[in-house]
């Protein structure tokens, strides 16, 4: 089979220079510029939001990749004078800090972790400088001179600094310095793996304070002339949220507060904390201090999901452009010159445009369009005749007419009042549901094809988008009658529909294998999907066409923190979408609405588009559902509402921004 241009969904640690540069899309860069400017940044986004790709630009290897093929680095020149380094909490195996029993008192675990963290980051900073200096063009551009006297001064300055408590003395050269640092980490590993009963005494007695050694390192690079003073250092701490999960004999050492401590106001270097969703907000403590971090004062927040979504009404979402760019890059990367793939200019060149609702209805209705109608026996004969006649040429309009009469009664109010321009919102809110009803009656699936549908189903998530493309391309290749088995472009709607269903099922079935309370989240999606489906398909009058979502009062959520935390986890893992909305209730109290990830909707035969009011549900009703589904224990008495104290960090709920 012809190679699928979307086969590789995840851009992993290993960077293939040609491939990365070709497939990386620059579209998000302008929206994430604080990442490439001095100052601390929290970068949050679900998997598939494009967060990882952006962070890759901080890696020296990626910079080298661009230089190696003479491609301009995609960061504006004025912001590109930086050296990136970092630590990934998972790949650094920080979880091993839970392997040994924590000593009581004195924050031993936090102090050890802080020291470990320092050395990992310090080693990576040195590695980054070394890597960049090895490339003539980059070292020249940045002015890095890792050699001779400068290097000697650097080594001496670092080794002699008191911050290391004498541990790095005497280091004769850079290799020696790195070796000592590496050995220290090896001693931590030996201790955490039980090879050593106690932590090596030379290590235990020379622990460094979180964040301090890196400043010494950076200052030494600059004062020795190895790195010019105008070059910034950016350190990425990726998978920050994993720190919460490190446990040791039931005690909760506060590793996050240790990392929070490095976000100081000292401008020597800037940190980027990469994290999933909202989880980080409920823990802004700073280790060893009574204070906590404040947005804008201490750090800038970049929420990739919000950027991709755009503001609800006014601003255009950046996502379609971004997805289009990613799509074309992938498509063209392995295309033969002159081929249809190579010449494609938009997603629609390969996937076509989505069918109009009228056309879709006609196709679904098939050769017996009148069969899509459910005429009430009590209706006047002329209405039945009218609708059946109409169905022959426009089954969608006929179906909407049926719904109109169900809702409004059969008193004639002009000719096809549902088609009247004044009723355009009434009609618009019901079109998708009408199509699903038609499909259901004809025992046919809805049609999911074309640029608009595929983008919509991907829900602003580039990973899901690529997954949809992967499946569609695979099936199109299998169905191709070409000798080279390349898909025939544009790909037929029928093929795309099957690809969509396959992708939806794959992602849904994958939930239990994901991290977190994945089993419960899977049950939650099943529960909501079936509730929405029952509500929408049972609603012949289509009085509530927006009930593919759930609305809950923020106040009630606040009083039920555990439930809210669970829902937020589902949002953070991309299973649900959460948006604040204006309530229809007279009390005007704030509410959140929750929708399934659009991709799951075809499985439950509900619209993925959102219209009108969602299902208003009380927290008690939701808890009842969750309890029956086995997600929470039997209902308990309501919890006492927490209040913020002056010196304690605000609870999660208080920090939720109303600006989503």
């Amino acid at each position: 089979m012809a190679r699928n241009p979307f086969q590789q969904l995840y851009v992993g640690e290993k960077v293939d220079p040609d491939e990365f540069v070709e497939i990386f899309s620059h579209k998000l860069v302008p929206y994430a510029m604080p990442l490439f400017q001095p100052g601390h940044v929290i970068l949050s986004g679900v998997q598939g939001s494009g967060k990882s790709m952006l962070c890759k630009l901080l890696q020296p290897e990626v910079r080298l990749a661009y230089a190696s093929i003479s491609e301009p680095f995609p960061i504006p020149k004025e912001s590109s004078r930086f050296i990136g380094a970092g630590i990934n909490i998972t790949t650094a195996r920080c979880i091993e800090f839970g392997n040994r029993r924590a000593e009581a008192g004195d924050s031993t675990q936090e102090l050890m972790f802080g020291d470990f963290f320092n050395y990992v980051v310090a080693l990576d900073i040195i590695r980054s400088v070394r890597t960049l200096s090895a490339d003539t063009s980059i070292s020249s551009e940045l002015g890095i001179k890792l050699e001779g006297e400068r290097l000697s001064r650097f080594v001496h300055s670092v080794a002699e600094s008191d911050v290391w408590e004498g541990y790095l003395k005497p280091s004769v050269d850079l290799g020696d310095l790195e070796r000592r640092m590496w050995e220290r980490l090896a001693r931590y590993r030996r201790f955490m793996n039980g090879n050593d009963r106690a932590l090596d005494p030379t290590v235990a007695s020379s622990k460094t304070s979180a964040g301090e050694p890196m400043k010494i390192l950076v200052n030494a690079f600059k004062s020795s002339g190895v790195v010019p003073s105008d070059v910034e250092f950016y350190v990425l701490v990726d998978q920050y949220e994993e720190l919460e999960k490190i446990k040791s004999n039931g005690a909760d050492a506060d590793y996050r507060s240790v990392v929070n401590k490095v976000i100081s106001r000292d401008p020597t270097l800037s940190y980027r904390l990469g994290t999933r969703g909202h989880g980080w907000r409920n823990h802004l403590n700073v280790f060893g201090s009574h204070g906590h971090l404040e947005q804008d004062r201490d750090y800038k927040l970049i929420e990739i999901d919000a950027i991709l979504r755009g503001q609800e009404v006014r601003t255009t979402s950046v996502y379609p452009d971004f997805a289009n760019d990613v799509f074309l890059r992938r498509l063209k990367y392995s295309a033969s010159p002159g081929s249809a793939r190579a010449k494609a200019g938009r997603i629609s060149d390969a996937l076509g445009r989505s069918p109009s609702p009228k056309d879709e209805a006609t196709q679904l209705a098939g050769d017996d369009p009148a069969a899509v109608l459910r005429i009430d026996p009590s209706w006047p004969a002329e209405i039945a005749v009218e609708l059946r006649e109409l169905a022959k040429e426009d089954p969608l309009s006929a179906k909407l007419g049926e719904v109109w009469y169900r809702q409004k009664g059969t008193e004639k109010d002009g000719e096809r009042p549902w088609d009247d321009r004044r009723k355009q919102y009434w009609r618009k809110e019901r079109i998708e549901l009408a199509l699903l009803h038609i499909g259901s009656i004809r025992k046919q699936r809805a049609i999911y094809s074309g640029e608009e549908n595929i983008l919509g189903l991907s829900g602003n998530n580039i990973l899901i988008f690529l997954s949809l493309c992967q499946h569609i391309w695979d099936y199109a290749s299998q169905a191709s009658s070409r000798n080279d088995r390349q898909p025939e472009l544009p790909i037929a709607p029928s093929i795309q529909t099957i690809g969509v269903i396959q992708t939806a099922r794959t992602w849904l079935d994958r939930i239990p294998s994901d991290y977190g309370r994945s089993d419960d989240r899977y049950k939650l999606i099943q529960l909501l999907g079936e509730k929405f489906s029952t509500a929408l398909h049972g609603d012949l009058k289509m009085s509530n066409p927006g009930q593919n979502g759930l609305s809950l009062s923020i106040e009630e959520l606040r009083e039920n923190a555990e439930v809210f935390r669970f829902l937020v986890e589902a949002v953070d893992y991309g299973n649900l979408v959460m948006v604040e909305h204006a309530t229809r209730n007279k009390d005007r109290k704030r509410r959140y609405k929750f929708y399934l990830n659009p991709l799951y909707c075809p499985v439950y035969r509900i619209p993925y588009q959102r219209s009108k009011e969602p299902m208003y549900v009380s927290i008690d009703r939701l808890k009842e559902w969750l309890s029956v589904a086995g997600i929470i224990e039997r209902l308990e008495p309501p919890t006492i509402r927490r209040t913020a104290k002056p010196d304690a960090p605000m609870p999660l709920l208080e920090m939720m921004s109303p600006k989503h």
């Binding site: 091993e96 793996n193 039931g250 994958r510 089993d519």
Partner: protein, 336 residues
Amino acid sequence: MNRDYRPWGPLEWLLPKLQGDPWGLLGVLGTEDRCTAALDVMAPQLRASRFLKILDPHLSPIAAFNARFDEIQGRLIAGGTNAADIRTVDLLQDIDTMEEELAAFLETSGPRVVLDITSMPKRWFFPLIRFLLASPAVETLIVTYTSAQFYSEQLSSDPAALGPLPTFDEPRLSERYDELVVGVGFAPLGLKDLFETDPGKIRYLFPFPPGPPNFFRNWHFLRTLESEVENRNLQVEDRWQIHMYDVPSAFEALCRVTRNGERSCALAPFGPKTFSLAMCMFALAANKAGKEPVHVYYTQPRRYALDYTSGIREHAGVPDIKAYCLRIAGRDLYEL
């Protein structure tokens, strides 16, 4: 035939061939019917038995779990275990506590020890086997595993991030591995992250026999992997079909592919515990032989289904318990 034979087989076949002092049994009080099988069979030959009740961080539904624990506990006590020898510990317990629990057991077990890994999470049995083999007090060590009749659809969830099993992450010179060997199971929890380690070659231990229904779920595991990660090294010849219960053969396969530890190797013990046992023994053998440390990566689930399995499979009218000799009269059997 030119290979070392490492005795294994049905427990009722193996035990009579190891006549001697009574045994000490260490097992797990879980929610599965099969947790009591080893005790039931061995009771007349035991001098001591101890069971660990290993608790998930978030047990739910609590009432159902507690009821089931009580029921199994009742059976263990009726089988001769003292209530005081039932110890409650955490799934994510630190290794210091694990060693202490083991030391307490060894005080009464005597030199002939049976470790029943049937219901024991891999996070526990990997370090326990290391500690047992490091103890000069243990002269003979058998590991037992009881088969279930039925497996639940959803076995476990809430996996921890991919990371090394406790004590299996000693420092290495290089970050890269020549070989990565993955056990094929039912659900590739977090397995995609494993390929970030960028090994030279990836191999799969595919358990066969037995056949269906597990066979079908194993194929699905491979299919999921292929769709999730870039299709690297997923060649037919890199998939080794090995009898699920044949721990020595799985161990041999690891020895051969790494040329007795000369090629560096990381292991991912997904799939059956028997393959995981082989991986554990290989990592320990490499360690003992002074080879480069073998890292063992796993995404430890933090929630196990209440009905993880049900029933005890029988073979020829008796519970199907397989037993593996790791050490006999001071002689270690799994060495490079």
